[in-house]
């Protein structure tokens, strides 16, 4: 069950980040030329590979309890950020993430940016794609490495991410448009719940606590976080519709 959650978490987190990266790469490619945009994608992939190659083996050397404490803490901080935004979106306090609107904004900015050529490339197109893929990919790399190393199965976490990356890339190439129909907001909600769940579970273990029921308790933690998240959405939605009395 933990392995399934591991793959699912890596897959969902990677898919939403890659959908966002695709939007930026498409905007750069369509307005500034595909050569600069795809070179930016390649350079970002290379930079990410260096980060993963450096961090991956290093993480396997850290004692498991210390690793779970640090990784649990970081996953909790990340998870709470994702969950907070997802709850605010689901309850109407924050605008829903709209890939079409973001794509239109990126297109406008890319069309009006000055042309500057460096190393035979359109520099704006190159840096836009590089930053989009590197920054979104860094979060994916972090999630895969931390999930994988803590569960002592980096290849399984990487497999979930790889499936998502290939899937988004293939659909993106076929569609040549932002993947606005992907239920990104729901997926972000799910990722927030999973990061928070794993963060609580590993963080508590790393801090020296023992879960009653062992690894099976992760399902109990998952249920707790789900109830907490949906209750928060319910309360905030009710607060928004309560009329103001004079």
């Amino acid at each position: 069950m933990n392995d399934l959650l591991l793959v699912l978490s890596s897959f969902l987190a990677s898919a939403v980040e890659m959908v966002e990266a695709l939007t930026i790469v498409l905007a750069a490619g369509l307005t500034r030329g595909w050569r600069s945009s795809l070179t930016g994608v390649g350079a970002a992939a290379l930079a990410l590979a260096v980060v993963v190659a450096a961090l991956g083996p290093a993480l396997t050397l850290v004692p498991i309890d210390a690793l779970r404490l640090v990784v649990g803490g970081l996953l909790l901080v990340f998870g709470l950020q994702w969950l907070r935004k997802a709850i605010l979106r689901a309850s109407g306090y924050k605008a829903l993430h709209d890939e079409d609107a973001i794509f239109a904004r990126e297109l406008r900015e890319a069309e009006t940016a000055a042309h500057e050529e460096r190393a035979g490339l359109d520099w704006y197109g190159f840096t836009l794609s590089f930053k989009g893929v590197f920054l979104e990919g860094l979060e994916v790399a972090f999630i895969v490495l931390t999930f994988g190393s803590t569960q002592q199965n980096i290849p399984l976490a990487a497999a979930g991410a790889a499936i998502a990356i290939v899937l988004v890339a293939v659909v993106g190439v076929l569609a040549r448009a932002p993947l606005a129909r992907v239920p990104e907001n729901s997926m972000k909600f799910a990722v927030g719940v999973m990061l928070t769940t794993f963060g609580i579970f590993w963080g508590a273990e790393g801090a020296g606590a023992s879960w009653p029921g062992g690894d099976a308790m992760i399902l109990g933690v998952l249920a707790f976080v789900l109830v907490l998240a949906f209750a928060s959405v319910g309360v905030l939605r009710r607060r928004r519709v309560v009329p103001v009395t004079a």
Binding site: G73, R84, L228
Partner: protein, 56 residues
């Protein structure tokens, strides 16, 4: 250097520093009491606090 530090602050801490501080406090309390139930309660409190801050 400042932009580099800013990037990592945004990447790790994000929009609300209360969440990061709350998580560290929750982990410290869990280590102190060695009790499994501390962290879920701490996370619930942190989530509520950060949502209240975002919506007030």
């Amino acid at each position: 250097m400042r932009r580099f530090a800013r990037f990592w602050w945004d990447f790790v801490v994000g929009d609300d520093w209360v969440a990061a501080v709350g998580v560290v406090a929750g982990l410290a309390l869990t280590a102190l009491l060695a009790a499994w139930w501390v962290l879920p309660l701490a996370v619930a409190a942190v989530l509520v606090a950060t949502l209240v801050r975002a919506t007030r």
